[in-house]
Amino acid sequence: MSYTLSTSGNAKVKAGNHANTDLTDDPVLMSALDDMAEGWVCAETRRDWVGSYSSLSTNIKNVLNDIVSSKVALAVITWDSTDYLNSELNSILNHNDGVVTTGLRFLKDFKSNEIKTP
């Protein structure tokens, strides 16, 4: 299941330049965080995005990637935020929180699972 919707590299980018590398370089812990994030995205939207991933369009895959990587990034930052400056920390937390909140709201209201051709 791990890394179906996103990658650890994307989560590292979302966590910013000063994320604790003890965690981001640990494949076991990062994989566990990714599993949890993917589980929550499926649970909150009540859709099995992981199971039906291969049939999704690229745009939806990108949205899922954005949400999951931001959720993992929030967990990474929460684990150790000592290297961040205050203003930097607020900015990164709020950006990722905005991605997760907006993205989940969009997916919950998304009826057809696909984006229509204009």
């Binding site: 000592t82 290297d83 205050n86 920390l89 929180d97 905005g98 907006t102």
Partner: protein, 210 residues
């Protein structure tokens, strides 16, 4: 997409900044070089305070060329910081050579030390001074610092590298540089009577986190 504003750190203290610092986005902190001496030996440090240095100055005596380093370390940071801008270094040296052609210069290097690994933040070399006369040399240089992040437990280090070149023979050479925040008289550097100082000061630019 609207950016969330859920996370807002409340300041733990009320800080006041000067307008010029806010305008430039940079705040300077002055550090002074000093030494401590214990049963192990003499150690070089940086501080914002003004202690009486264990040794007022360091004297290098040699019959030929020499190239010596002294690392002045600040205690490790407790909060993250970013150094960026132009650092200003002031100090003095006293020479007591005799051979025409002897010269010296100093290379100041600001470093970040993380887990024993040094990263250069900035470096500057003074002009070349005549080391063949008995006189004081007052030094002021500025150093461009590349933007460098300091995490908690990182150390800020000022390395003073003195390079003395024997161009006129192998007779005795003496070079003294001061590092006493109290500006007391050294062996050759005598601020009480001469236009010189034994204070080694570096003004380090930090990016304001506001």
């Amino acid at each position: 997409m609207v950016m969330s504003n859920r996370y807002q750190n409340q300041p733990k203290a009320v800080a006041t900044y000067s307008y010029s610092d806010i305008a430039s986005g940079t705040g300077y902190i002055n550090y002074y070089g000093y030494t401590t001496t214990d049963s192990v030996g003499t150690t070089y440090h940086l501080t914002t305070q003004s202690p009486r240095s264990s040794t007022i100055s360091t004297v290098q005596n040699s019959s030929g060329s020499f190239d010596v380093d002294h690392d002045f370390d600040l205690p490790s940071f407790r909060l993250p910081q970013i150094v960026r801008g132009t650092a200003i270094i002031t100090g003095s040296c006293f020479t007591n050579g005799t051979n025409v052609g002897d010269t010296f210069h100093i290379i100041y290097t600001l470093k970040r030390v993380r887990g024993g690994t040094e990263t250069t933040v900035g470096t500057v070399q003074t002009e070349t001074y005549d080391n063949s006369v008995t006189t004081d040399h007052n030094i002021t240089v500025d150093m461009t610092c590349s933007q460098t992040h300091f995490a908690p437990d990182d150390v800020l280090r000022l390395t003073v590298n003195i390079v003395c070149t024997a161009g006129g023979g192998a007779a005795g050479k003496q070079l003294e540089f001061g590092h006493d925040p109290q500006n007391r008289d050294g062996g050759g550097l005598d601020p009480s009577t001469d236009d010189t100082t034994t204070i080694l000061k570096i003004e380090v630019p930090y990016r304001l986190d506001i």
